[in-house]
């Protein structure tokens, strides 16, 4: 066989490879050329009948064709595969600008009152306060009498108490008007030293622009043998700095009167108003935020603690009010409306757990 024939065969086969339009056709070309009965294989079979001197040269020539065709096949296969992938990918194109579902973590919210209660808990836990609780429906004794508010005391009228229809007035249970009865429960159940805060719902028979018949308070109580007003002042100052997340806070302690503390004080916090925004820690205006004092000896006696030995302080803060101040919410009544627009706007994402290490807000 002449070398020119081999060249022609090579050219034909390479042309077949080049013109194969898909992988199936390419396989046909491969079988037709390099398969057992393929044209190149057929030439190889002729080798055996050749004289040895021709055999070597012819073998080399045929092999060169085989290698050339094989390489072309590989290259073409790769090209076709790439094209096929490209075509598939093109067909699979999606509109990735379509918005995806945000998922439950983005949809869910924690109520601001819960979040702020967690913040308060975090701060006081660091100062060694435990969290105490008591029922909403309280005994008259715990809500009033043990707190040095005997029947007929004028302070009872100031409390706008909710009573129960079937219960005897002045005796029967009431909806607690403050979280202070938790002081009584705590002192009756535990021996000093005591450090607790007690957050929870409280109720007053009062409803207008700025009052709701249900709201939230947190009570604080420290009882031991040495805690005095200086400690109270420190605790409240530290709390306000930590809670409002400001380096300094201006506080004003005013003498006041509560039947269950003596001496008693109300505490104002300094603020500045910038537009509708309230900035704590700046300015020279005052806002009342809490009542506090040294636990009255009569309260200690009511829970069988000797006022000559034990002493301590108590305070009560409105959680809703703190929440409004810190996060700039204008209307208390919206807190209890269950309005998704408000809750989504002011509520907190489920994973934003307040910690001292990571910051409260």
């Amino acid at each position: 066989m002449a070398a020119s024939e081999l060249d022609t065969l090579k050219a034909e086969l390479l042309e077949e490879v080049a013109s194969a339009s898909d992988l199936a056709r390419l396989e046909e070309v491969r079988v037709g050329a390099l398969g057992k009965k393929g044209r190149v294989s057929a030439l190889m079979q002729r080798l055996g009948a050749m004289p040895p001197e021709e055999r070597r040269d012819f073998g080399q020539a045929v092999n060169a064709v085989k290698v050339a065709v094989s390489d072309a096949l590989d290259a073409k296969r790769e090209t076709l595969a790439r094209e096929a992938t490209a075509a598939r990918l093109a067909a699979e194109r999606a509109d990735v600008t379509l918005p995806v579902r945000e998922g439950p973590l983005a949809e869910g919210r924690v109520h601001p009152v819960s979040q702020v209660t967690d913040e308060i808990t975090e701060i006081f836990a660091d100062m060694g306060f435990s969290i105490a609780e008591g029922p909403d429906i309280e005994t008259d004794f715990n809500n009033f009498t043990a707190l040095n508010i005997p029947p007929e005391h004028p302070a009872r009228q100031d409390h706008d108490t909710f009573y129960f229809a079937e219960a005897q007035t002045g005796r029967g249970p009431v909806l607690r008007t403050h979280t202070s009865p938790v002081q009584i429960r705590t002192m009756l159940a535990n021996k000093p030293p005591l450090r607790i805060i007690a957050p929870g719902r409280v109720y007053r028979c009062d409803s207008d622009q700025t009052h709701t018949p249900m709201f939230h308070q947190v009570e604080g109580l420290v009882i031991d043998e040495e805690t005095h007003l200086g400690h109270l002042k420190w605790v409240l100052e530290e709390f306000c700095k930590a809670f409002f997340e400001v380096p300094e806070v201006k506080m004003r302690f005013r003498a006041s009167h509560f039947p269950f503390t003596e001496p008693s004080m109300e505490v104002d916090i300094g603020y500045a108003k910038a537009g509708d925004e309230i900035r704590i820690g700046e300015g020279d205006q005052w806002l009342e935020i809490l009542g506090c004092g040294m636990v009255h000896p009569n309260v200690l006696k009511a829970v069988d603690l000797d006022p000559k030995k034990y002493q301590g302080f108590a305070f009560g803060v409105g959680i809703d009010r703190l929440t409004m101040l810190k996060y700039g919410m204008p209307d208390l009544r919206a807190f209890f409306s269950g309005d998704l627009r408000w809750l989504k706007h002011y509520g907190f994402p489920p994973l934003s757990v307040p910690t001292l290490a990571g910051g409260l807000s």
């Binding site: 439950p104 967690d118 029922p135 249970p173 040495e226 302690f253 003498a255 009167h257 807190f335 998704l340």
Partner: protein
């Protein structure tokens, strides 16, 4: 409690400014509510003289004035008929704010004539409703000087909130004493001089009580002043009363009001000619009534202390006098009453009859028991001074009640309770200024509180006095001792559980709401509550009348409101108490959730990737189970039964139980009747897990045994069973799981099918059983043996009483 600066200065010798006085009052516990300075409010208004007044060229009713303001002469257009040349009035310049018309004046052009300011009427200054003409000031008023001063309005008014423990500060003198003790001046000496009687008091005073009730009115001083001339009180007295918001009546009544505010000493005056016989203080009798000064008739009862003459009830002691015997301008003989009434009884009477009066306010807080006699002397002196006449002797019936007895006071208590360290000298000076006498020396003294301070009875009370007069700002802030190096955990297991569940439910896309603890009776009844015992006596409204037996009605109502507002799809949850009774143990914490519209874990509402399914039992069951899972009570540990309450859809609800007795929660789609009664639309589904929160056992935070994750490959086998359509999948799972408790690690349901190929009344349930080899790979024989046990277990009663293998074939999936 209101008073003016000049009034205060009658009792207090001070150079302090209005601001200092206000700030000090607030700090010492007499909180300023408002300081009203009329001179400041009217600061821009000046005395001006009308130089000329001519008719406006283009308007009949207007005049063009030339006004001398002291600085310049300005042209002012004025519509007042009384404006005339030579008169002096109140001028408001351009730029001044005129409160009565709520306007800041600008230069104006009135019908072609320029006007630079205005001459004001009383109404424009909000002094009265008078608007027929402009204010005419006395001719001697100095042009250019402050109009407020010329109007006699330069007295600053303080409005102070008095706490209920300080009845002494319901009189100006008490306030002055506190300010003096706080170092803001000196309390003026003001001894009350007795007025000598010119004749015997002809009107006997009787205290008709028995031993048990004599404290209702322990002392009553009375005296007659005859031949007086009642009429309007003098200008200074009227001005003071008006300044604090009281309406002057006549001299006699004004005197009692004045002394009530000046000395916290309520009095009463009777027209003596209208009295019959003696004056009695006694308890009321059923059937008696009287017409009070407020024009209303009140029925009295045997609990109330009344003042009566020999025939009728005249008034209520310490609360309000009667119309019939009150003093008028015709009164010529006046009987003055100065008594002490028991605070508790006075409060009760006032509350029962719903009478609010200055007298009640003072008596129920406790006035100075020693003030009956000085009070009547002061009143007599003023009556003689303002109305003339002749006073009788004073008749005093009974005896003033004792004030608080002296007590031991260890001065070191001040430091112990407050952290202040003060010199004895300063302590003694402050207490003395308050009228508190200290006997003895050294640390321990005997303290005698003054009669006007019923709030001082124990040593801590005196510490409060020292602290408030010293100022809390002088107390050094003292750190609390650290109980441990690193703060210890402080939450109880229940508190931790509540926190976990809250964040978990929020993480499932639910939004936390806080709804009212009280709901309408009808809604409470719908959810198993509404008992009369849990009804409020004085609810804000019928919408808030009963303590809620469940959080669900509040959440469903909130969901409904959101749907009405256009939020058709979503979910809400709440953590809070539900109430079954009045005792503490009947108030239990619960977590509840509601999904409405198209709502599931994946999201809510329509979406290109597929709309959320309608809120159904499965979504809320998943919420409840997830909450329980987070508390260590996963699907494997609890049982699902159909024992859900009847406000749920009976076929699409269930209870989550831990053993036969403990219900951890309930879930389901709401019964259409429930929704209809709450005026809400479905789809809506809800879950509640009470015990999840208050379950007493502490779930283990850390795994208690090592993980049993095996290196050996798990084997999975599928089974399909044809069962009666009402067979619960839960029973099948339990049966399959029980086939081999060691090897079977999980059973899941991957198909529930009815329809083509499945006979009527039947369904096909397909389960996947996972076998986890423990120590060696399982042989085919071992696997087949377990598979046979699964089939046997599933087809044996009671698990799936009518089950039989639908397809015996099982295919390995791995």
């Amino acid at each position: 409690m209101k008073f003016t600066l000049s009034w205060l200065k009658e009792h207090l010798d001070t150079e302090a400014s209005v601001e200092e006085i206000a700030d000090t009052l607030t700090l010492i516990g007499l909180e300023i509510e408002e300081v009203l300075d009329p001179a400041k409010a009217l600061g821009e208004f000046r005395v001006a003289e009308v130089v000329t007044a001519e008719k406006h060229p283009d308007a009949d009713k207007l005049q063009v004035l030339q006004v001398n303001t002291g600085k310049e002469t300005l042209q002012v257009v004025c519509g007042a008929p009384n404006a005339r040349a030579g008169m002096k009035g109140v001028f408001a310049p351009v730029g001044a704010y005129v409160p009565g018309i709520d306007l800041t004046l600008t230069k104006a052009n009135i019908r072609g004539v320029e006007s630079n300011g205005m001459m004001a009427s009383e109404r424009e200054l909000e002094l009265s409703d008078e608007h027929t003409g402009i204010i005419e000031l006395p001719a001697k008023s100095r042009v250019g000087s402050s109009a407020a001063k010329a109007l006699g309005l330069d007295d600053v008014v303080f409005d102070v909130a008095i706490t209920p423990n300080r009845p002494d500060c319901l009189g100006v003198r008490g306030v002055a004493r506190d300010l003096a003790a706080a170092g803001l001046g000196k309390l003026k000496k003001d001894p009350v001089k007795p007025v000598k009687g010119a004749f015997d008091n002809p009107i006997p005073v009787r205290l008709d009580f028995d031993k048990e009730t004599k404290d209702a009115c322990p002392v009553f001083a009375g005296r007659l002043v005859r031949g007086i001339r009642n009429g309007p009180s003098p200008a200074w007295l009227q001005a003071r009363l008006k300044a604090i918001g009281l309406r002057p009546i006549n001299a006699l009544v004004d005197i009692t009001n004045y002394i009530s505010y000046d000395r916290a000493r309520p009095l009463h005056v009777y027209d003596a000619d209208k009295l019959t016989g003696a004056v009695h203080a006694r308890l009321g009798r059923t059937g008696e009534s009287f017409e009070a000064l407020d024009g209303k008739t009140y029925k009295v009862d045997a609990e109330m202390c009344v003042i009566a003459d020999d025939q009728v009830v005249l008034g209520l002691g310490g609360v309000m006098g009667g119309e019939e015997t009150g003093c008028t301008e015709e009164t010529v003989n006046v009987f003055i009453e100065s008594a002490y009434f028991d605070p508790k009884r006075t409060a009760r009477t006032g509350r029962t009859l719903n009478i609010v009066s200055d007298a009640r306010f003072r008596f129920e807080r406790g006035i100075d028991p020693q003030s009956a006699e000085p009070g009547i002397e002061l009143a007599t002196a003023m009556v003689l001074d303002l109305c003339g006449g002749e006073a009788s002797d004073v008749t005093v019936a009974g005896r003033a009640p004792k004030s608080n007895p002296p007590f031991r006071f260890d001065l070191r208590l001040i430091g112990r309770l407050s952290g202040l360290s003060l010199l004895h000298r300063d302590i003694l000076r402050k207490l003395k200024a308050l009228g508190i006498a200290l006997e003895g020396d050294g640390h321990v003294r005997k303290a005698a509180p003054p009669s006007w301070r019923p709030d001082l009875s124990i040593p801590a009370d005196l510490v409060e006095e020292i602290v408030r007069l010293t100022g809390v700002d002088r107390i050094p802030a003292t750190p609390l001792s650290h109980l441990s190096g690193v703060a210890k955990p402080v939450l109880t297991p229940a508190q931790k559980r509540a926190r976990t569940v809250r964040r978990l439910l929020a993480a499932r896309g639910l939004v936390e709401a806080v709804t009212w603890s009280f709901i309408p009776e009808s809604e409470a009844a719908l959810f198993g509550g509404g008992d009369a015992a849990l009804a409020l006596d004085n609810p804000i409204s019928t919408e808030m009348s009963h303590m809620r037996p469940s959080l669900l009605p509040g959440l469903i109502s909130a969901a409904k409101r959101n749907r009405d507002r256009g939020f058709a799809d979503g979910g809400l949850f709440e953590l809070g108490n539900a109430y079954r009774g009045l005792e503490a143990q009947d108030q239990s914490a619960a977590a509840s959730g509601v999904r409405f519209g198209q709502s599931s874990l994946a999201g809510a509402g329509r979406h290109w990737s597929g709309a959320a399914p309608e809120a159904g039992w499965a979504a809320v069951k998943a919420d409840a189970m997830a909450a329980l899972e987070a508390l260590g009570l996963g699907q494997g540990k609890v049982q699902i039964t159909r024992e859900a309450p009847d406000w749920f859809h009976p076929g699409r609800s269930g209870a989550i139980k831990l053993g036969p007795k403990t219900t951890l929660g309930v879930f389901g789609e709401l019964h259409p009747d429930t929704l209809a009664k709450l005026d809400a639309d479905g789809p809506m589904a809800a879950s509640r897990s009470i015990s999840a929160i208050c379950r007493p056992r502490k779930p283990k935070a850390r795994p208690s045994r090592p993980s049993d994750a095996s290196d050996l490959q798990a084997v999975r086998r599928d089974f399909a069973f044809l069962v009666d359509a009402d067979t619960d999948a839960g029973a099948l799972i339990r049966a399959a799981s029980g086939a081999d408790r060691v090897l079977i690690s999980d059973v899941s349901v991957f198909d529930e099918f009815t329809g083509q190929g499945v006979p009527e009344g039947k369904k096909s349930l397909a389960i996947e059983v996972t076998l986890q080899p423990r120590d060696k790979t399982l042989t085919d024989e071992e696997i087949d043996a377990v598979a046979e046990k699964v089939v046997a277990g599933a087809t044996r009663p009671p698990a799936a009483r009518c089950a039989r293998p639908f397809s015996g074939s099982h295919s390995p999936t791995n």
